[in-house]
Structure formats: structure tokens, C-alpha cells
């Protein structure tokens, strides 16, 4: 029998979310930021710390983050996991939580993240030096994304201007979002003129380095119905085909293809049904690749799809409506914030521009070097 996740559609929901300490939070530890978010998300859900019996966490600095968080909160979970597949860990945690909730192992799932990397010395990767690559002084993750961008430009005739459109659109959304770290408008010329870091990626092609944390609370749908604004998990899917960039089969096609197909199949929906699209934009090339791989446009067309303001405020498709990792927040691992923006849009509570009548939102996570891809689709009760 082929695997079929459709029975999980709409069976669980997010009833609480928080994103606290984003930007700069000097003097706070990563664990403290994570803990504060857990408390705030639970309060948002109308629950207390003692209600939590399932814990998921991943950070760049904790070897056993779900234990650190549970201890910090003073709870004894029935299940916890610190599974780390990079920035998409939190989407995989959502799928884990849905399965554990539906199977009756737990009743209240908490998924959390925290980082103080901006005020504590800059970007820090949890990754070990990778064999057969580290000796070449490869700078990760940026070199890997630059190699993908260069190959994409070569195969499809894309230019740095195409990439720059992604950064300009993200900043356009951020300009309306008081929670965004960078809000001043930028132009394509600004992006092209920024300091080159790893060709063809300049400084404004790269995500921010901020502090920040977030948390989500999930329960089974029957319990969620009592909540004011439950946002149901309609679909989820994951795939990964490499750990190191030298092992990625085709640098212009990611496993978002398979992850997206699985999530859409579970949800019974198509790309055209999405009211908002939240993508893990660690670098400008990400947005183009994921729009193609998730089926919003054909392979090679993403470069034009992102132009003419199509994914900017007022354009045809609302993409990264908070400003993304490029302009809103990126505290080392951005996946949880992708989820939070999708969920806030469905709740009608986006901190920046709210998309009117958004009932279905996609949140896609990316981890490693275009390695792990996890797609989630969320919807309001109207979308069930």
C-alpha cells in the first residue's frame, strides 16, 4: 500500500504562536529567548506550561535542545525531540507533532526556537566541518548557495538583476512590517552595488543576522475548535537528497519538488489555491528555486516570475509577506518564522500587510545547503 497522509489533513491545528526577541535582544541567552517564546505562545493559546506534554526544539547551540527547553520550563514531557535538519527542522517538527497528536501520544505540542547570535558575535552554524569539502576553505552555507545561483544563471540565462528583484520585493513587504529588522526601501541598483561576498551573491542577496525566537502550540482539531482562531495543518511533506553541496544531484532543482507534491497531495490543494506563500529565503536564489520547484511556475521561469513586482506588495502573488529572512528576521535558523507568518496570515493577524481573506497559506522550509525541504500548508476552518 502506498503511503497516504490524507488522513492527517485538518486533524491538528496551531492555536498559539509567538515571535519575541527578534532583532536585537542583548544580554539574553538563546535558551531564555526560547523559553520566553514558549510561555507567550502558550498564553496566546490560553494554556499554561503545565499543559505541555510534547516538546520539539532545534537550535545552533544546544546538543539536546528539547531537554534544555523542557527543563527550563519545568515540565516532564511524554515525548520530545531535538531533531535537527537545519532551518526546515521546525516544519519537520510540525509534521512530527501532528503524527504524535493524532496517534494520541500527546495532547499539547510545543515547538520552539531561540537565538542570540546577532548580539553574541554573529552567525554561528551548528554544522561540523564537512569531509572532502572543508579542506578547500569552503565558506558555508553561502558558497553552496552561490554555486547554485551561478549554475541557475548559466542554465537559464538569469542575471544578478533577476536575483535582486527578490531582495527588493522582500524589502517592500518589510517596509510595512513594524517587526521587520530592515525597512528602508532598496532598489535593484542597491542590491547590485552592495559588497560582493560570494559571486554572484552580494550582501543584499543574503539573509539578515538577527537575534530572535519563536514558538508554536499545536493540539488536535477537536480541542482547537474551542479556540478563537485555530489554524489547521492541511498538508505537510518532506524530502532531502544530500547533506553537502557536492552531493546535490542538480543544483537548480531541489527536493522541494517532492516535499511540495506530498504536501499538496495531503491537502488536496494546488499552488493556485494558496493565498500567501512563505518561503525560506536565506538567499535570493532560494525564492526563485522554490517558486519553481513547488509548482508556482515552470523550471527556468522563476527569474521572470519574481520580476515586475509580481511577488512584491500589490503584485500577483503575496510571497514572504513579513519581509522574509532577507529583510524581517533571520536568527540563524529561520524556519519557525516562516511558519509563524503563514499562521498569522490565516489568523488575520499579520504584523505587516495582512492579505485580505487569506484562508490558506503555504510555509516552506529549507535546511542545510538546499538540502532538507519541508513544505506545510495551513488553513482556517473555512478551508477544512
Amino acid at each position: 500500500m502506498a503511503s497516504d497522509m490524507a488522513h492527517l489533513r485538518g486533524r491538528t491545528a496551531c492555536i498559539g504562536a509567538a515571535a519575541w526577541g527578534c532583532g536585537e535582544q542583548p544580554g539574553w541567552s538563546s535558551l531564555e529567548i526560547m523559553g520566553q517564546n514558549a510561555r507567550l505562545a502558550l498564553a496566546d493559546a490560553g494554556l499554561t506550561i503545565a499543559d505541555v506534554d510534547g516538546v520539539w526544539a532545534a537550535t545552533a547551540v544546544h546538543a539536546m535542545p528539547s531537554m534544555s527547553l523542557a527543563e527550563h520550563l519545568g515540565i516532564v514531557p511524554k515525548y520530545s525531540s531535538g531533531s535537527n535538519i537545519g532551518g526546515s527542522s521546525f516544519m519537520s517538527h510540525v509534521l512530527d507533532a501532528a503524527v504524535h497528536l493524532e496517534a494520541g501520544l500527546i495532547d499539547v505540542a510545543l515547538i520552539a526556537y531561540g537565538s542570540n547570535q546577532r548580539t553574541q558575535g554573529g552567525f554561528r552554524s551548528a554544522s561540523e566541518p564537512v569531509p572532502f569539502e572543508a579542506q578547500y576553505d569552503v565558506r558555508l552555507p553561502i558558497n553552496a548557495y552561490a554555486l547554485a545561483a551561478a549554475r541557475y544563471m548559466h542554465e537559464f540565462g538569469a542575471t544578478r538583476e533577476h536575483l535582486a528583484e527578490v531582495a527588493v520585493a522582500a524589502r517592500g513587504w518589510a517596509g510595512h512590517n513594524p517587526e521587520a529588522f530592515t525597512r528602508d526601501p532598496i532598489t535593484v541598483d542597491d542590491v547590485l552595488g552592495a559588497r560582493m561576498i560570494s559571486d554572484p551573491l552580494g550582501k543584499l542577496d543574503c539573509c539578515l543576522v538577527t537575534d530572535g525566537g519563536g514558538a508554536l502550540v499545536m493540539v488536535r482539531a477537536d480541542r482547537a475548535a474551542d479556540h478563537a482562531k485555530p489554524v489547521y495543518l492541511l498538508g505537510a511533506g518532506m524530502a532531502h537528497d544530500h547533506r553537502m553541496i557536492s552531493e546535490m544531484p542538480d543544483l537548480t532543482t531541489t527536493c522541494a519538488v517532492q516535499a511540495g507534491q506530498r504536501a499538496f497531495a495531503m491537502a488536496g490543494l494546488e499552488p493556485g489555491d494558496m493565498n500567501t506563500v512563505q518561503l525560506y529565503d536565506a538567499f535570493t536564489i532560494n525564492t526563485i528555486l522554490f517558486l519553481e520547484d513547488l509548482g508556482f511556475c515552470e523550471k527556468g521561469e522563476g527569474k521572470d516570475f519574481v520580476g515586475s513586482g509580481h511577488i512584491a506588495p500589490g503584485g500577483g502573488l503575496p510571497v514572504n509577506t513579513n519581509g522574509g529572512g532577507l529583510s524581517c528576521v533571520h536568527p540563524g535558523m529561520y524556519g519557525l518564522f516562516v511558519l509563524i507568518e503563514a499562521i498569522r496570515q490565516c489568523r488575520g493577524a499579520a504584523p505587516g500587510l495582512q492579505i485580505p481573506d487569506a484562508t490558506v497559506s503555504l510555509a516552506h522550509g529549507n535546511g542545510g545547503v538546499l538540502s532538507s525541504q519541508v513544505t506545510t500548508i495551513w488553513g482556517t476552518a473555512d478551508a477544512l
Binding site: P131, F132, E133, Q135, Y136, D137, V138, R139, N143, A146, L147, A148, A150, R151, H154, R195, M196, I197, S198, D199, P200, L201, M244, I245, S246, E247, L251
Partner: protein
């Protein structure tokens, strides 16, 4: 000694060796004890042809005081496998996708490494 250590030992002996399945002829890089995906473990070391093509390339804009800019690239070996490496002997910015390259062994960070130069 596992395949990774054997690979390094071959490099120290001045040879760029890669693994091939005796039964299927399939090559694998990076070296590991079996062919990924299919699992054949009848692997033998063969000397790499030492020829390949640049699949993608970037320039690391390291500051001059830290050693200056350098190339990072992916090379498709003519045997059909890929490795991350560096093209040397030319300006990093001039390395282009599709460039035909030839392997040589050079010391990098205190150990022998396979690097490439324009063929």
C-alpha cells in the same frame, strides 16, 4: 582503514584514486564502502583520469589580510562523479562554468589535496 583514510593515503603517495564497482563499473565520489543507492560493495581503487569540467564556480571575497580572494567550484570528473574543489593558476573570477580542467595534487591547509587547473 576506511575509504576516507585510504583516499588520503593515496594522495599522500601522490596518486588521485577513486573507487569503482567491479561488477557494474559505476564510480563513486566521495569515497565510501559501497555504491550509494544500490549498495554494491565490490569496490576497487582506480587512478582517476584527472580530467573534468567546471559544473559551477564562485569567488570567495576574503579580505587581503586574511589571504585574499579564492575560487570554490564543483568539478564534474570525466568518470561521471562530482567533487568540490578549487581551480588554481588563474584569476578566481575568470573560472567559468564549462571550463575544461586537469587535476593536480597540491598541499592545502597542511595536507595534500586535489586541485584543478585549466586544461
Amino acid at each position: 582503514m576506511g575509504p576516507e583514510a585510504q583516499f588520503k593515503q593515496h594522495l599522500a603517495d601522490g596518486k588521485f584514486m577513486i573507487l569503482r564497482s567491479a561488477s557494474t563499473g559505476a564510480f563513486v565520489f566521495y569515497p565510501r564502502p559501497f555504491i550509494p543507492g544500490t549498495g554494491e560493495d565490490d569496490l576497487e581503487w582506480v587512478e582517476a583520469k584527472g580530467t573534468g569540467t567546471v559544473y559551477s564556480t564562485t569567488v570567495n571575497r576574503r579580505s587581503p589580510e586574511k589571504g585574499g580572494t579564492f575560487n570554490v567550484c564543483l568539478i564534474d570528473l570525466d568518470e561521471g562523479v562530482r567533487m568540490l574543489s578549487r581551480v588554481v593558476g588563474m584569476t578566481p573570477e575568470d573560472v567559468s562554468i564549462g571550463l575544461k580542467v586537469r587535476a593536480k595534487i597540491e598541499e592545502l591547509n597542511g595536507e595534500p589535496a586535489v586541485v584543478w587547473e585549466a586544461a
